[in-house]
């Protein structure tokens, strides 16, 4: 009761504050290390906690305190939020339930929200019905449903406050991402790059659900919200107008994909949001040429820096012009301050789908570093630092090899050397920690025709494990790495049997955490990668490990529940192309290790 009163008073205080800027609340919550108020831990996307009650000395004592079944079978991405009110807020994949669980009563259900959605949305979700979770500000929870409905719930009661429609699933538009609250706006992207949708990022008023602005990923500048005289590209104004139209064959930009379905990060000082757009529509590059020659297909696979107030684009950096491999550019942009060449820079670091680790200047979009974090990466030899463009290897160019030609042994796979699983950054070590995929592919483009609401893919894709390098664990398909974003090199790595598809966590306790597809939560020494502790949850982990402190006790919370593209691609196991027919593969089948089922596990030290 005392606790409730205390929070009631706190809530009154917050209500008084909301007349200022709504994101004050989110910023205030983020600055309290006891809370985990946004999916990536803070606006900068660092997934770092200053909590150190759980540390290297006592990690062996960490115990599962309780578990909670969500009753949903599909892949569980994202993780629990904790905003200091003694509750955990969690969500599920389709049907997108939300639960408020009492942290003090082993997860007793305080309220449940379950929307009524058209199940026809399920088969238009390309890679499982995942959802990356809730956002919170000022007593409201926000969730983007699979069917593109953005809902605002009263965190106290679970009551629906408003809903807004962000897209049409009958045209192949869906939602998987977690919205971000900035100022008085809720910002949400869209999925459907495999259905020929036209990607956009949209802001809604957090109080009313009214649309504030929408910036498309392709089309004329006025739709993208670009000013070619002001918007920067490689540190200079773009100059030429409407590149989002002219870098496509006639009208193809209208189904040009560029869906931004990953994470959005935010720099409160520069007042800019950052996110990446997905692959251009149709995986067949031939259908995106202009006069038979490669065209940039702007602004697919592009990092956008936008003003959150009006959506105007401050700068762009296209990581992959003319995609030939489905290298969606949606991975999180970690905002980190770095010293490079003796100079302090406001940096933006990406562990990218392409196998390259990028470092950009987040004020100007200038490219500072582009180096391979996955050594098997072969589609490009390197990036030209003057032009910011990749130098593509012809042998692995699916356009040069041609339509109906199976280009083989391209690394990484379309899943990316890293997918959406968010990385962590420790300001103490200056390193980024990320789960990565060690998988390659064969890719065969074919001619396809656009029909609204039908898949618009135009390439077949088969996968195989990346060639094993010296010192690698036999049969590994994933790794957990520590990456130096300034030097552009891997500091340490630890191999895993399967792709590491969970979000990472770094803490002041000298630990980094991640989950495996078999279902283990693991803690490693942040300096060496040495495994110090692990716990087997009931299903594979594609969610993120979050930490928070309540009444003096530090907790760890993680959703397990296998699925996502990893579950689809790896369940049956991959074939090693090096092996002869009938050889027993060292490359395992995920289905031999885990089954479906969503469970939240909450850990703590028993004596804390």
């Amino acid at each position: 009761m005392l606790r409730e009163m205390k929070y009631a008073i706190a809530t009154i205080g917050l209500l008084a504050a909301t007349t200022l800027q709504a994101n004050d609340n989110q910023l205030e919550l983020q600055s309290n290390p006891e809370y985990w108020a946004t999916q990536l831990g803070n606006y900068q996307g660092n997934r770092y906690s200053q909590l150190d009650q759980i540390n290297r000395d006592n990690i062996g004592d960490l115990r599962a305190m309780w578990q909670f079944s969500t009753g949903v079978l599909r892949g569980h991405e994202g993780g629990p939020l904790y905003v200091g009110d003694g509750r955990l807020y969690i969500h599920t994949p389709f049907p997108n339930k939300v639960f408020a669980l009492d942290l003090e009563e082993q997860g007793r259900i305080l309220w449940t929200y379950e929307p009524d959605q058209d199940p026809r949305v399920i088969p238009v979700m390309c890679c499982d019905t995942v959802n990356r979770g809730l956002a919170y500000a000022d007593g409201r929870l926000f969730l983007g449903l699979a069917n593109n409905t953005l809902v605002a719930l009263d965190a106290e009661s679970g009551e629906l406050l408003w809903e807004a429609s962000n897209g049409d699933h009958t045209k192949g538009e869906t939602n998987t991402m977690s919205p971000l609250v900035v100022h008085d706006k809720v910002i949400m992207g869209i999925s459907g790059g495999e259905f020929g949708i036209r990607g956009h990022m949209t802001a809604y008023n957090a109080e009313t659900g009214e649309m504030a602005w929408r910036g498309y990923s392709n089309g004329p500048d006025k739709d993208v919200l670009i000013d070619p005289q002001k918007t920067l590209m490689m540190g200079k104004p773009i100059g030429e107008a409407d590149l989002g139209v002219s870098t496509w064959p006639e009208g193809e930009w209208k189904r040009g994909g560029g869906a931004p379905w990953g994470w959005v990060t935010y720099d409160p000082e520069l007042d800019l949001i950052y996110y990446g757009s997905g692959n251009p529509g149709s995986w067949n590059p031939q259908q995106r040429t202009v006069d038979g020659e490669p065209a940039d297909n702007k602004w697919a696979i592009t990092v956008f820096a936008r003003d959150p107030n009006n959506g105007q684009v401050k700068w762009v950096y296209q990581k992959v012009p003319f995609d030939e491999w489905d290298y969606d550019g949606v991975n999180e942009n970690q905002l980190i301050d770095v010293e490079i060449n003796g100079e302090q820079r406001k940096g933006l670091a990406i562990i990218d789908r392409t196998g390259f680790g990028f470092l950009l200047d987040r004020e100007t979009g200038e490219l500072l570093v582009a180096e391979k974090f996955a050594p098997e990466t072969n589609w490009a030899s390197h990036y030209d630092m003057e032009t910011g463009r990749p130098v593509v290897n012809e042998e692995f160019s699916t356009f040069r090899q041609g339509v109906n030609v199976n280009t083989t042994d391209i690394c990484p796979t379309a899943m990316g050397a890293k997918n959406m699983q968010p990385s962590a950054y420790s300001p103490e070590t200056g390193l980024i920690y990320a789960g990565i995929n060690r998988i390659c592919m064969n890719y065969e483009p074919y001619e396809t025709e656009y029909v609204a609401g039908q898949p618009y893919v135009g390439a077949t894709l088969t996968m195989m494990p990346a060639p094993v390098q010296e010192g690698d664990q036999e049969g590994r398909m994933g790794s957990f790495i520590a990456w130096d974003p300034v030097e552009g090199e891997v500091v340490w790595k630890t191999d895993e049997r399967f792709a590491v598809w969970s979000g990472a966590l770094a803490t002041a306790g000298g630990l980094a955490f991640y989950g495996t597809l078999e279902g283990h939560v693991k803690a490693v020494n942040i300096d060496t990668g040495e495994e110090l502790w692990s716990f087997k949850t009931p299903s594979g982990i594609i969610g993120n490990i979050n930490t928070f402190q309540h009444q003096g006790k530090q907790y760890l919370g993680v959703l397990s529940g296998v699925g996502g593209w990893a579950g689809i691609g790896l369940a049956a196991g991959l074939e090693d192309p090096e092996e002869g027919l009938g050889a027993v593969s060292a490359f395992a089948a995920l289905k031999d290790y885990t089954e479906l089922g969503g469970v939240l596990t909450v850990f703590a030290l028993p004596d804390a």
Binding site: P119, E194, T460, A572, E575, L590
Partner: protein, 171 residues
């Protein structure tokens, strides 16, 4: 072989294919290995030729169609995934008419497990028999993982007829 998609007019056609297939299966149901043993071309759904890892053109087309349209949910080589079951197992329990009916009509098993209808996808419809043959070959262990090669005509094997020609002949 350019896949194109047709509109609603396909639906009566597939209904007729299914109808014909039902009667064919009832009257002429044969073990899947029969055609292989006989070395014949395959007129019936589920028949295939597989010799030394090579298959007839129709079954090869079935592999390609599976990889384009089914793999994204059902996993590589028909083996199933965390999202949808193994079709290798399913074809052992389902007649061609049941199989093609599910492909055309879709399926809702649980509220969160839904297969779409492919009734509007002409490319998939044209290849249902090929996919079924490929899966039967996988189920019997005659076709391995990965992309099979096509039997060389010079070896004296009759390449399969395109199935849409069969269908149109029946119409």
């Amino acid at each position: 072989m350019t896949p194109t998609r047709m509109s609603r007019r396909v639906f009566p056609a597939i209904a007729m294919i299914i109808g014909v297939a039902v009667s064919v299966m009832v009257m002429f149901a044969a073990p899947p290995g029969a055609a292989q043993e006989n070395g014949q071309g395959q007129g019936r759904p589920g028949d295939y030729i597989a010799i030394d890892g090579k298959v007839d053109q129709g079954t090869y087309d079935g592999y390609i169609a599976y990889t384009r349209a089914c793999l994204a949910c059902h996993g590589p080589d028909g083996l199933g995934s965390s999202f949808a079951p193994s079709l290798i197992k399913r074809v052992q329990q389902r007649t061609f008419s049941e199989f093609s009916n599910v492909v055309a009509a879709g399926l809702q098993i649980q509220p969160d497990m839904v297969m779409p209808s492919f009734a509007d996808d002409d490319y998939v419809l044209r290849n249902i028999e090929n996919i079924y043959s490929y899966m039967k070959g996988r189920a019997a262990g005659d076709i391995g993982r990965g992309r099979p090669r096509v039997i060389d005509e010079a070896q004296g094997q009759e390449p399969a007829q395109r199935r849409e020609e069969d269908a149109s002949a029946k119409n």
